[in-house]
Subunit: 503 residues, 2 copies
């Protein structure tokens, strides 16, 4: 084996390291359709874990799921002016509904549509059209609906999970009788995302409103959670939008209030996507491949029997099956421990490295000598790949939930420490230029990370940061106010913003 | 209240009754996009129950989930000749990937694609293209993958759930080293569907191969499960296809066998869709609306508090909450009993009828007099809407799982009895003509149901049945052979086929 299973390493070439981790863990690959990825079974199993947890959180906060059409009439996108500008550029457009076989066996599009249809880049407009029919009275509110769906935004420079033409996501769409309720909902779902990111993905995030230039097209306020990847770049991991009455006005979503007077609704939307799989990879993985927080790992423990002949095989497999049953009876994060017995007849070393590269939290090797000594040989994915620890066989299953809990907490602490080590407070434009000026945030570059800076929400700030390829990620909400003056414009601002290069 | 909650009744106008049941239960509605439906929260919750059960069955039979692109290059559809013919007619075609805002605020498609993309009507070709890369050796086989996805087949005459341009489904795609293994897989998944239909949907089905003319385009054999709706029409509720080496040849899915010789794989595909929601509606519902088999009911028991003043309200709600907790601790079909306390402040009668029309299996009313007597007032959805039974409050939760079990079995028995009562054995062409000649199978028509008839798999049979709007649904596999001669062609055939009008 080379010094590490993944080549290049993070330090050598971070973007390429990412691609190689995805490949080595067999998570996804490019498809023959430009910009569209295939999510392979291991990658999809991680997404299923995420979906399961989020879906329970959405339902616990009163939301129900529904499903709306994939296609949106062109005229719907035209209704909300800012929305058009934001989404009109990068859509897949359906213009025909039939194919005919030409003379040379080629298919020819026919049946031209009167009005072209757009493959949804997001569903505010089509869902709003339905809400306009569904909502009549204040008794119909709030309307709290979520959709799990695929969406398409044409991408010229796709990167697996991070930026693909088609991706999977959930989009919540709610309608309320008052502005206050809609703002409350917007922040509630931001909190759901932050809790999920930190508790389940072990990924520390900063919550806050985005500056005006970074808002969702048509939103009054966009809030995001921002995470730091191991190259110091920010990744927007989820967004929650307060849409005010903008979409309600454009689509005529009205209700009669308790006094019988008609008003426009106040709406929100919020979403996270398969991009989160990319975020998890870049937050935790190392130079040996994928590292998964146990709460979203499709398999918590893999059992690896070792034997040289049939007699050994039988005894070892019997012990493995007993342990498998014991482990399945244990619980971690409110669910049974997920265990896999890997009895495939392939070289032991290959098998071990496959599980290392796929990020299985705990690997347990069991051979005749272990059995004789009444132990298993435990390796943890958060330690060196060759580190092993003998654990009494009789105790292992019982100890497993605590081990997983410890790993989950350890990954979070490590990621938070990394973020803290790569965060600075800067107090002048010169300091910002100096900090971000030389770095490229990428391959072998200096890690510039997050800079907490007083900046105004103003075009002059964007213009000053643009040459540095730096953006204002959000204005952190947690913690006390810290008034200051914008390092670019000199305007007074109540608190610092987070500046970073970003995915 | 009128004599029944749904108007027209089944006897008066079955197709319109279906639409009204869907509307009254708030399951789905047409969207502004032609042919595409919106699946509303209650309809989607039923689909989620189906998905959950099926997903566990797929995983228990060794399958994993993955996700493949929504778009298929036109040239892929051209690869398998029969597949082209079957699917080329009714596809949504993406021809542009950009929109530009015209001078009058109108959006104009731009960015014409070099090769148009088809929105998947099914994914054999795009998945096959990936399998060709993934499979090299016999060690890579079998490949057992399922996908949950949306698909689009343009429809000019849509009907909610039964036939819509976009629908949700799962599609399994597997590759094997031998024909025998692929056939075994095809039949295994047919059995999974039949078990699911009968055990979970309480819907009796007949399993068997389809005649040649009804096969999936490109398949060697197509097997289906066929259910009888209450108008006597057949509904194909699931299909499983043995694709032989047809798609493997077209797409070059090859493996080197244990002797090192290259061979084409043997593939299968199988799917069920949101059409099953329509099948459940038409199998069990009555003139008061939706009737749901408990195993797929989003809510098993609804608790309806009755009170006239605040003091009563407090006592009744407290009792309801205790009962809610007790019920949630009980289990039915390996899951907690799903209970909803409906404390909305609306007229009691409206509330009751809403739950009747939405198909909640058990309704429990609790008022001050019930509390004083230590009972609850139970109504079952499989009995008359006004039938009530006093059940001791202290016993109800404990008895609930058995009640649900009894209802589930009762619905299945009723549906099976209906099918048996509307099945005939016919032994001549004249008898077939006489049986199907006058009926229209629809509004106020005679219920022609299933006819078990000896027919050959021959174009002459199709031609003879076509004027009757009757098709050979499948050749039932269960039960013994019963040789006979085709009533149309006179050819010897080993067993009877099922003939019916169909959805």
């Amino acid at each position: 084996m080379p010094a590490s299973a993944i080549s290049p390493t993070r330090a050598e070439d971070y973007p390429e390291w990412y691609q190689q981790v995805v490949r080595a863990a067999d998570l996804a690959e490019q498809s023959p359709v430009r910009g569209c990825m295939v999510i392979k079974p291991h990658g999809y199993a991680i997404w299923e874990q995420m979906q399961g947890i989020l879906d329970r959180m959405f339902k616990a906060t009163g939301h129900v799921n529904a499903y709306f059409p994939l296609f949106i009439p062109l005229s719907y996108l035209e209704q909300e002016a800012k929305h058009v500008e934001g989404f009109a550029k990068e859509c897949a457009v359906v213009t025909h509904h039939r194919l005919e076989l030409g003379p040379n066996g080629k298919l020819i599009p026919t049946g031209k549509l009167e009005e072209p249809l757009v493959v949804r880049p997001t569903s505010e407009t089509i869902i709003g059209a339905m809400y306009a029919k569904w909502v009549q009275s204040w008794r119909d509110l709030p309307l709290l609906v979520n959709q799990w769906a695929n969406v398409v935004r044409w991408e010229m420079r796709p990167r697996l999970f991070l930026r693909t033409a088609e991706f999977l996501w959930q989009e919540g769409h709610t309608a309320h009788a008052t502005s206050a309720e809609a703002v409350e909902e917007t922040l509630r779902m931001l909190d759901v995302y932050a809790t999920f990111a930190e508790r389940d993905l072990a990924m520390p995030v900063i919550k806050g409103p985005k500056p005006a230039g970074e808002r969702f097209p048509g939103a009054v306020d966009t809030y995001s959670i921002e995470a730091m990847m191991q190259d110091g770049k920010a990744l927007q991991a989820g967004t929650s939008h307060f849409l005010g009455q903008n979409f309600a006005r454009a689509q005529n979503i009205k209700f009669s209030n308790t006094a019988g007077v008609e008003e426009f609704c106040w709406t929100t939307s919020w979403g996270v996507s398969t991009r989160l799989v990319g975020a998890v990879i870049m937050t935790h993985s190392d130079d040996d491949g994928l590292v998964l927080p146990p709460r979203i790992a499709p398999v918590h423990v893999v059992l690896l029997p070792i034997h040289r002949n049939d007699a050994e095989r039988e005894a070892v497999l019997a012990a493995c099956r007993t342990l498998e049953a014991e482990l399945s009876a244990e619980r971690f994060a409110d669910e049974p421990v997920r265990v896999r017995l890997d009895a495939r007849d392939i070289r032991g070393g290959d098998k071990v490295w496959q599980h290392v590269k796929q990020g299985v939290p705990l690997r347990v090797e069991i051979g005749p000598r272990d059995l004789a000594a009444g132990v298993v040989s435990l390796s943890r994915r958060d330690r060196g790949p060759k580190e092993r620890e003998a654990v009494p066989l009789a105790e292992f299953a019982r100890r497993c939930p605590a081990l997983l809990e410890e790993m989950q907490a350890g990954l979070f602490a490590r990621a938070r420490a990394f973020r803290e080590a790569h965060s600075v407070r800067l107090d002048s434009q010169a300091a910002v230029l100096d900090h971000f000026g030389a770095g490229d945030g990428g391959a072998a570059g200096r890690i510039t990370g997050f800079a907490h800076v007083h900046v105004a929400d103003a075009p002059a700030v964007t213009a000053a940061l643009d040459p540095l390829k730096v953006t204002v990620r959000c204005i952190p909400m947690d913690g006390p106010d810290e008034p200051g003056t914008c390092v670019i414009t000199g305007q007074p601002v109540p608190r610092r913003s987070v500046l970073a290069r970003a995915y």
